[in-house]
Amino acid sequence: MRPLSHNVRRRVLWVLFAIFILGTPLLIGYSKGYRLNDALGLIQTGGVYLHSDISNTLVFLDDEFVENNGAFLRNTLIQDLLPNRYYNLRAQRDGYQSWVKVLYVEPNLVTEARVMMLPSEFDWIEVPATTTLAVTEEIEGATSTTGTTSPEVVPNPEYVDLEEYFAEDKDQFAVEVATSAYAFIRGKRVATTTTVIEIQFPEWLKDVASTTNLKDKEMVREREGIVTWLENGDVFAVWARPEDPIPYFFCEADLPCKEQLSINWWEDILRYEFYPNRNDAVLVLSERGLYAVELDNRSQRNIQVILEEPNLDFRLQGDGTVIVFDTESYRITSW
């Protein structure tokens, strides 16, 4: 049996070479979003990329189903979109509040957004102020001892712990500073140490702190470069890492990126925290209740209900647990 003939090898090589020469520009063009339109003209399309933490959501584009984002790769890339127009995006899943966004698509660019979907119903664990214990009282008789069991209302230790936790309420940048004063009492030098709470920003945040006058703001928070604060009942957000690219949700097509985003409702915002593990959304408390709100205000801003009741207070723990106080009891949930 002879080795592979030179002729066959040469011919195959030429065919493969031709495929390479023709295929490379086609592949590059395809990868850059070039497609043929109905008139067989070449247009450069754009796309939309949805980041999502929720699995098995149904994604719709202009009310047409695009895909189920699956259990593992939860993000969605929608390509081949005609450029220079707006698209309606919707993500939905049974048992969750829907998320909608109108995004502008430009040629050669992919517009990003992050889906925020909270459950429609939350499972709350209630922690009341008191709890009832069964107390057994033993009565010694002449011949025997008898016991009677009766319910007794006692303070709930879990409630007491949460009360203390709410009372602490330390700011993110608050540090305890100890100062010592000395005095001579009857000829002896006596030191008196007092501790005060001061707001101290890290070095890298100093520029933003001075330009935005952060020291005078309430509830200053920072997450992954986004600095937020509460001022006159509104939440404000700025990008604090000017050397890094500004996050996509500060920018809208054909407009310069915004320096500052704000959430200003007709009623005052009483308290807020960053949404667990995200820097593009916050949990906001107002007189009406507790909500999750996107900072991203391109088109309409998604606002999703956590608990709609007046006179609430809340805290967010590091593990994403939300604790709400309704003047009578605490309620705990997570999702």
Binding site: M1, R2, P3, L4, R9, V12, L13, L16, I19, F20, G23, T24, L27, I28, Y30, S31, K32, G33, Q44, T45, G46, G47, Y49, L77, Q79, N108, L109, V110, E112, P245, Y248
Partner: protein, 507 residues
Amino acid sequence: MAHARDLSGKDKVLYRMFEFVPAIISWGTIITIVLLSIYNPTLAAYLIIAFDLYWLLKTFYLSMHQRHNWRRLRHNMQVDWHEMTDHLKYEHIYHFVILPYYKEPEQIVEAAVQSIRDADYDKERLIVTLAAEERAGEEAIDIAKKLTEKYKDDFGHIIYTVHPKDLPGEIKGKGPNITYAAEQTKRQVVNKQHLPYEDIIVSAFDIDTVILPQYFLCLTWYFLTAEHPHKTSFQPVPLYNNNIWDAPAISRVAAFSSTFWQMIQQERAEKLTTFSSHAISFKALNEIGFWQKNMISDDSRIFWNLFLANDGDYKTMPISYPVSMDATTAPGIWQTLKNIYQQQFRWLWGVENVPYMLFGFVKNKAIPLKKRIYHTMVQLEGWWSLATHPLIILLLGWLPLVLGGEAFRDTVLSYNLPYVTRNLMVAAMLGLVLAGAIAFSLMPRLPDDHPKRRKKYFAAGAQWLLVPFTIVVFGAIPGLMAQTKLAAGKYLGEFWVTPKEKRKETK
């Protein structure tokens, strides 16, 4: 000469420059991709997409060669070489087999001797030399004595040689040993018996080499039908079947990668050089003083020695017939991995032949220019692709996404790059299915009542998922290391002998 240090003056400078060439090309490629990913990620993405397509087409092209060689290999294994050689006058042809060893167990050495004894060839025309090393100690020499005595009636001539240690101008390696053995055999047997040099085919075997019974008949046929048998090396296909079922999956993949590359090269004879166990005419070897004694890659260097000595009128003929050797094994997976790496590094240290070849091409103008350019391109492309392509495919292809900056990351191209790369690579990986099937067909069958038969067959299929790991860890990284060491002038001074474990009785 082995390296630049063996030269002086302008020649030394020239040779030293050539020692930089493979590293400059490989590192230049990697650095260029990194810099382009930072400063011009769009261009980097274009190049990566073009490269992905090139890799897919190359995989197809090489698979075509591999498949044809598989068919030819199986055909040659079924051919009755008696019948083939009956048409030729071959009774005058002697086979001189050198079996160099160091501290390998007696069982390994004897298995090699036995497979030669069992060969279907006139025993009177078989010359076997057991080439022991003095530095290996008395035990190694005792093995030589014992086996020489035991098999003295089974061959026309069987002798042993003991290569003295610490001879000036030699490295600790296989080259000095086999050259010493060849010179001693020439004096003790060939010259004494007045055997014509041109009638002797020398097979330089690794000590774990086991041949099929008709190997020498097949080799004889190729030798006698070659246009210029004394200007030709003969290369079998190395299989690593001796202990293949005892070797871990990663070792099997590394072993078959080597086999597959040789199979592909067998169909591209113009690119083929000698590797591992090979055969050359005694006359040709004698003219150049046998193998070089001062460098590691004696098996491939001998081809370039002969190519330059014959003014480019020299080639390697693929015989598409297998010889079987040991896959790398060791006690424990970690030691096995280390041994595989060391063995691959030693093979890839063959890059030391590049400056030798380039220097020879500059000095020997009698070699046709076309041949010089052709071999230069083939060798440089080979070493470059080995050291860089796995890295580009599996690691560097994603760099524009990481280093390209926000402006690039927002583009459609950035989002498509991973998809295009992944899809083309998945298509290329389909070649692995073919590779797996070919490998399976070349492996010995396990007995039906083997307790782990199903498990082992399953592992033999699943092992190919390790390829992305092996081509980087046992290909690109040792390849780059070898090229970097050569450029730094840190030459290997000692041949790393792959440790051989005693083979298990049942396979």
